[in-house]
Point group: D3
Chain length 137, copies 6
């Protein structure tokens, strides 16, 4: 068993806000992340898959294929978008990094498994000071 | 003469859009940066000042003071904000990195000169792949 | 279960020295790290916690709270300090990165668990070429 | 149990090519990595070992010793070399990052275990966008 | 006048060798960079252009256009190539970073000037420890 | 004319203190950098030289020679040392990054000029948030 990781990037706007709460409560909990005019980040996405090495290629998975899946299933929907407004798989969800990481896992899992490897980890880095990791259920 | 640089960071949303143009023209020129639901970045700001060394301190400028000026004059207005909507010194301007760098220079110049040094360079890094540098007029 | 990591930084002096050994023996084992006039590093501290997502916030833990705990319990005691002389929780211990990582874990564990998440990993990066990871007992 | 990681670097040329395949098939699978005139990378190697802390040193392993083993057993054979042509422990193997990571593990394992620690992870970073991790069988 | 920089990357093989010299002399001068089986690097290319801001776009130059020129004129010829064997504009030249930087400048200059800006700096980073800068004649 | 830069690193302790001032005044001006038990940093030193390209080598200067000069003249004296106590060329000086950069320039200048190139810039990076640049008198 060996693990390979591909990094992709997306630049997006978002806001942290619980619609059931007052503005004051949102600011109390989310601070400046609750700004209703949005803010944004250069997100980095690290997708780790695991599997056995194919003797003909030396690969667990062809990174060209892995990159294509990530681009098509998530980056095209996230890059230069608003996480709260534009992204089908985030509709009705909190736009936190934690929730985003799980949503990305769910978008990627079946397509990656069809490449012959197995999704192991979705890591989303929001700033140089924080990142989230999700290994599936 | 010696140069010292302080890095500060801000996370902001923006959109590239010329209001005099049609939506199609905006998309043609600005591509996905024209998304009307905004996108965003982790911006890095590097402020370089120059001067002679103070013999008592070994400093061109006390970085505590330089950082305070940058925080108060620009970071508090930019961080977790929308560059097109929230920032007084960007009102009515294109929210490009070039225009932003010049606007930051104008905000900082007199306060930095009052610290006894001279503003030399404002550098704004928008992504790992592009940055803008402004040395004043 | 999802994991979130917060990075904090501290700049500190230290020396590697076993008081039971001669100077020669200390230099033989610790090399230039045994310099009795001290040397220092820009340390990076990565604290990873794990837990379930709170449906109201989308958070495992509010990073504001996590950062406050780390600042108060360890960074204020470590930043711009001497690890051998100034730090109560390092008293009488070897000032190696390994020992430091465990000591930081012990300082943080109960306070972090009170935030409703669980401490998973303390990582201390000493230079670009080496880091230590401690996952608890 | 605590984990310590040492980073070393090597700059090498390689080519991805299955000699049993036609040129066309090689290009179809490996793309520009199949260029028969070679290409190359600045590889980063991260070696993680685990063990208990020695009370006399505060170390799991002396990084001087760990670095010496890595240098002698793998870096001297890989740095400024051609992975397909010059490296004894890669002879007859695909020069993929996955295969390289496993080969490095096998070169390092017994010598590292003789240092009193245990090899835990070999990570090879090929570009800023991809890396491989191998934890042994 | 304002400056904007675009980073592009290419992974290439090369060798440092003066064909007029003996093997011994080549090894004496170029060390392990003279390995006749090649070695390679992840090169980073930073292209800085300068100009006035276009009032309609807020841009000195559209980065899409700048990136296209760099891709077409140099990256496609350099990426996953051998600098000594594959690159038309390096034919008959030493494959040093200095010579490469000047050759890239010459490839880019007229096309970049046609974008309405002016080429200011070509910077080529070969490893994390060295880079070359060329500002033209 | 072309510019080449070599990065070297050193880990050192220091303290900011004006012996003519009271402890209170030192703390007022230098804050936690005045801690009399020292603190420290991972310093990065970037040395830029300029010159014409040697047609036989493709080099402005052989980086092996440049690195040797930097190691011998400054790194060996700075690495794992105390800037206030251990370094002959810092004796009696403020241990600020500005003063250090100038002192490094003076140590390097004549030796680098003997390599056939000309010292252009000494840059000292103290933390990820600040660095100093000195271009000579």
């Amino acid at each position: 068993m060996i693990y390979i990781t591909r990094r992709e990037r997306f630049n997006a706007a978002h806001m942290l806000r619980n619609e059931k709460w007052s503005d004051d409560k949102n600011i109390e909990v989310f601070g400046k992340c609750a700004n209703q005019n949005w803010h944004g980040h250069n997100f980095e996405l690290f997708v780790t898959v695991k599997g056995e090495i194919n003797a003909n290629t030396g690969f667990v998975v062809n990174l060209k294929d892995l990159s294509s899946v990530i681009q098509e299933k998530v980056i095209e929907k996230l890059d230069h978008k608003n996480l709260n407004l534009d992204v089908d798989f985030m509709r009705g969800k909190m736009a936190s990094t934690e929730v985003l990481a799980i949503a990305i896992w769910e978008e990627l899992e079946s397509d990656i498994n069809q490449l012959g490897s197995k999704l192991h980890l979705v890591k989303v880095q929001e700033t140089e000071n924080n990142f989230v990791e999700y290994f599936g259920k």
